[in-house]
């Protein structure tokens, strides 16, 4: 591959508010029944809401054009490290849009929602097996909410045993995903940050020094953000448990280990899943996600309600009357439409298929890493260490020194080939980090073509082409600083307003 052939659509797309045509005839979606709505005078809306009016065709065309200024897994290789951008099978959507999936009210009652409750119960059982945990709740809406729910359970568990305020600290490694410390703080814990070792693993001495009778939990992901399996995990679990604390598993990297190992056998007490990563829920441009958690038996009484159970007569029920439950973390049953998609995926793959998926995810990552290191100039592996699993991090430091090409520039130039970029500048412990996760559902051909593009970019004779990329996307490099210095957050803000501090383009973004 030489120069990129990709050209993204460059439609001129005025906002809906600029397209407002006033009083045009619209399709009648439902039959209006008009009259006095009876709103008290103190509240009645005097003026128009200001919703733009367009013809149905204009609406469809507007959004179809916007879609052409976007890319997804369906259009492009999307090696966004830690985000697990694998296939989103279409059959999932066929099932999720059936009337018995989509148009069931959450309060309809157990007897009228046996199908939904069965979906929840069956998925709980699958996740128990995959994680090696004793009980699962699906309720948390996303990974971050799963973390926070797990920490509320941690708090309730310690309070029940040792009284209120006994354990106030949560230990988090410095390379953890940003949601870990944020969730711990939200649950009312003091966050104790410990340094990681040079390979991104847990520094055992630092952990020992941090553990105390105040420690409520230690949160880690395994494999680490560098894709390296934590060799001391059994020792870590022992240390944490001896201190009377719980061990929390961030499931962001679950795609590496299905059927190979599991958090339960490693000694973890709580785990959250990201069903939108591992179990093929589409990411939807940022959500919805789904963040179930699994726990060991001694934490089961604290799970949020309802707990969905299978009764002896084979029927399913949501149990609310549970004395030690932490209550609700989200409305109703959580992101049910996601559960359907994940259950369909699990049933199609089976235990054997899930295992194959993880094996291939790791094989693809290892093959891609080796091929990049062999063929692409200007990048290096930060340190040798053990084999990477489902993802790996390379550094663009040599290219930066030789040609002034930064990880950011590589990311932007990859867009010109129609790829989404890898995660960059995360984890922070690697300079000019490029974090690549190919997932199992990409073929060798796709990986080879990606290496061709990387090779072309890093070998570019004129580095200016890379430094000023992208050139083939619907807009050129976007000025993120301007967006803060002259903030305009709705179409109605006449003058942009300065809002001070801007994010640096090389600050981390992570999944």
């Amino acid at each position: 591959m030489t120069a990129p052939r990709f050209r993204q659509a460059q439609w001129d797309t005025p906002t809906l508010f600029e397209l407002d045509a006033g009083d045009v005839t619209q399709d009648q979606l439902t039959t209006p029944v008009l009259g006095d709505a009876g709103v008290p005078a103190t509240l009645a809306r005097g003026e128009a809401v200001g919703l733009p009016t367009l013809t149905p065709l204009e609406v469809t065309r507007h959004y179809t054009r916007l879609s052409q200024k976007n890319i997804g897994v369906d259009t492009s290789f999307y090696p966004l490290g830690s985000c697990t951008m694998k296939i989103n099978p279409k059959v999932n959507d066929v099932v999720a849009t059936l009337p018995g999936s989509a148009h069931v009210h959450p309060l309809v009652g157990d007897d009228l929602s046996q199908g939904s409750l069965q979906v929840i119960h069956e998925l709980q059982e699958w996740l128990k097996q995959v994680s090696g945990m004793d009980a699962v709740t699906l309720q948390p809406a996303a990974g971050a909410q799963g973390e926070w729910t797990g920490l509320l359970i941690t708090k309730a568990y310690h309070e029940k045993r040792e009284g209120k305020g006994a354990r106030t600290e949560v230990i988090v490694p410095d390379n953890a995903h940003g949601t870990n410390p944020a969730s711990a703080a939200m649950a009312g814990f003091k966050v104790v940050t410990i340094p990681s070792d040079p390979e991104g693993g847990v520094d055992l001495e630092a952990l020992k020094a941090a553990l105390s009778e105040k420690t409520a939990a230690f949160m880690i992901t395994n494999p680490s953000t560098l894709g390296i399996f934590e060799a001391n995990i059994v020792e870590i679990a022992k240390l944490v448990h001896e201190a009377g604390a719980l061990l929390y598993y961030d499931g962001a990297n679950f795609n590496a280990i299905m059927g190979i190992t599991n958090p339960g056998i490693m000694g973890f007490d709580i785990v959250h899943f990201n069903l939108h990563k591992t179990m093929t829920i589409p990411h939807g441009g940022g959500g919805p996600g789904s963040g179930p958690i699994g726990v060991k038996a001694r934490l089961e009484p604290f799970l949020p309600v309802p707990v969905v159970v299978r009764r002896d007569d084979g029927t399913f029920a949501g149990e609310y009357d549970r004395a030690d439950s932490i209550g609700k973390v989200k409305g109703f049953h959580g992101n049910f439409m996601g559960y359907i998609r994940s259950l369909v995926y699990c049933k199609m793959l089976g235990g054997d298929g899930l295992t194959d998926a993880s094996k291939r995810a790791v094989l693809n990552a290892n093959y891609l890493q080796q091929t990049i290191l062999e063929r692409v100039p200007g990048v290096e592996l930060p340190h040798d260490g053990p084999k990477r699993l489902h993802e790996f991090v390379i550094s663009a430091t040599p290219a930066k020194k030789a040609k002034g090409i930064r990880a950011l520039d590589v990311a932007k130039r990859l867009l010109d080939y129609g790829y989404h970029a890898p995660t960059v500048y995360f984890p922070l412990i690697v300079d000019e980090a490029i974090m690549i996760e190919p997932t199992e559902t990409e073929s060798k051909r796709t990986l080879d073509r990606f290496v061709d593009a990387m090779s072309h970019i890093l070998g570019e004779e004129d580095p200016e082409v890379v430094r000023t990329a992208p050139h083939n996307t619907s807009v050129a490099r976007v000025d993120e600083v301007h967006a803060v210095k002259q903030a305009r957050l709705t179409a109605d803000m006449g003058d942009a307003i300065p809002l001070g501090e801007a994010r640096d383009p090389t600050d981390p973004n992570n999944c």
Binding site: L80, A142, G284, G331, G351, F426, V484, L499, R503
Partner: protein
């Protein structure tokens, strides 16, 4: 069967390149004691087999068209126009991630900028984010934001707020050492008990949360007086937070921004999204400009590209967890962007007139059913003099379960039995009617209760 994986030739070629015999060799570094298998799970099956099984499983459910229901209470069944699903299911939107690379993801970014504008116009607030998980978590985040902004010590919530919202709020406030205090509702009007609310406001109040229309479907006609009352009580920094319930209410009533609210939230899933057994939903979240740096969640801003052309990107991210870590305004990362897209498409298809007419239809039809039911012997309204939007509380002489049995026999599912939370009302059920109910269902319900 190897679902979704490229073939054995690929696998062999990659293993050869790595000098490995089998993929198992890739895991050689794992300690032996932690190896596990999934042999206890069923084997993989074909797409057709699984599809067939799932169809049968889900056919056990009562969906709205096969058994019309009169349930609301935070989840609202409106008609979702046919154009919504085909657009949101376009892979360019649906299979994309959070737009970290704005140059190639302008489509979703512009759609979210438009969504923020929609929410700001509806609520008459100045800024909005691109969503929280749902209304309960949006309400809880608003309370959390208030406490962080003004360091207050009490959060006042209505006694008749949905119990799930109360529980979510208490959990979100777990880390902040604040007291959650309930204020009563007025037994006659069904509105908040003004004297009780005033009595419970203290100078260190962090926030007052009001749902309007409230859990009983009743409009809170004195909501526009709350902000001034807070000042008069010395709670000058307290946030006034309004949950608009079903945002179709905003076609008929002023947005909370027009009557002094600091934060407006609502259940956006009522527009463009299915009831879906409870999720995914869409937490609307809007506030005043002065609070924007305290706001949780992702925000899209307009900017320019290197050529000076209009462009959009995520902005103000220094509030967020990936930069601020334990000092972040919230831990939220994934949100409900696709539901926000569906919300916007539905509103675009409705336009100003369609939106207003749909909301009016809900109100008029709900009032119609309420009056027909109230005319029956042994049936009355809990708050007959109140102004309702599209929900109302029905009191029956018979237990709600007995009433429900008659409705079931008629092929329906009646209103929600709220007796467990509001025993003071007697045999009480909360009913909701929207534009989506067949006329026949209203007639059948009336006949069943006669």
């Amino acid at each position: 069967m190897k679902h979704f994986l490229s073939g054995a030739d690929d696998e062999r070629a990659m293993l050869d390149a790595l000098g490995l015999k089998s993929a198992d060799d890739l895991f050689a570094d794992l300690p032996a004691g932690v190896r596990a298998s999934l042999d206890g799970l069923p084997a993989g099956r074909s797409e057709l087999d699984v599809l067939r099984e799932m169809r049968r499983m889900l056919a056990q459910n009562a969906d709205f068209e096969s058994r019309p229901h009169f349930l609301g209470a935070g989840s609202y069944h409106h008609y979702v126009p046919a154009a919504v699903d085909p657009i949101i299911l376009r892979g360019e939107f649906y299979t994309s991630y959070t737009p970290y690379q704005p140059e190639i993801l302008q489509g979703m970014l512009q759609a979210m900028f438009e969504f923020q504008t929609y929410v700001a116009r509806l609520t008459q607030m100045e800024v909005a984010n691109i969503s929280m998980y749902d209304a309960p978590t949006a309400l809880a985040e608003a309370a959390m934001m208030a406490v962080r902004a003004n360091r207050g010590k009490r959060v006042l919530v209505p006694a008749n707020l949905h119990w799930e919202k109360k529980s979510v709020i208490r959990n979100y406030l777990e880390g902040l050492q604040v007291e959650v205090v309930e204020f009563a509702y007025d037994a006659h009007s069904g509105q908040l008990d003004w004297d009780d609310l005033v009595a419970k406001v203290t100078p260190d109040t962090a926030a007052v949360l009001v749902q309007n229309p409230n859990f009983f479907g009743v409009w809170e006609s004195r909501a526009p007086e709350v902000k001034a009352m807070l000042s008069a009580q010395g709670a000058t920094k307290a946030f006034f937070v309004v949950d608009v319930g079903d945002p179709f209410s905003l076609a008929l009533a002023n947005g909370p921004g027009a009557y002094g609210a600091d934060v407006a939230v609502g259940e956006g899933a009522a527009i463009g999204n299915a009831t879906a057994f409870g999720g995914p939903y869409l937490g609307l979240f809007a506030t005043k400009w002065e609070h924007v740096r305290k706001m949780p969640g992702r925000i899209v801003g307009e900017t320019v590209d290197a050529k000076g052309e209009r462009a959009f990107c995520l902005t103000l991210s220094t509030r967020e967890q990936h930069i601020r870590r334990d000092k972040a305004t919230s831990n939220i990362c994934s949100n409900e962007a696709l539901n926000a897209l569906a919300f916007s498409i539905h509103l675009a298809l409705l336009g100003e007139r369609g939106f207003r007419e749909t909301a009016t239809t809900c109100a008029v039809r709900a009032a119609d059913l309420a009056s027909r039911l109230a005319a029956l012997p042994g049936v009355r309204l809990a708050f007959p003099e109140a102004a309702h939007f599209h929900e109302f509380v029905v009191i029956t002489d018979a237990p709600v379960a007995t009433v429900e049995a008659k409705l079931r026999a008629a092929g329906l599912r009646g209103g929600l039995d709220i007796t467990p939370w509001h025993a003071e009302l007697g045999h009480a059920s909360l009913w909701c009617v929207t534009e989506a109910h067949p006329d026949e269902a209203l007639t059948l319900a009336t006949e069943a209760l006669a």
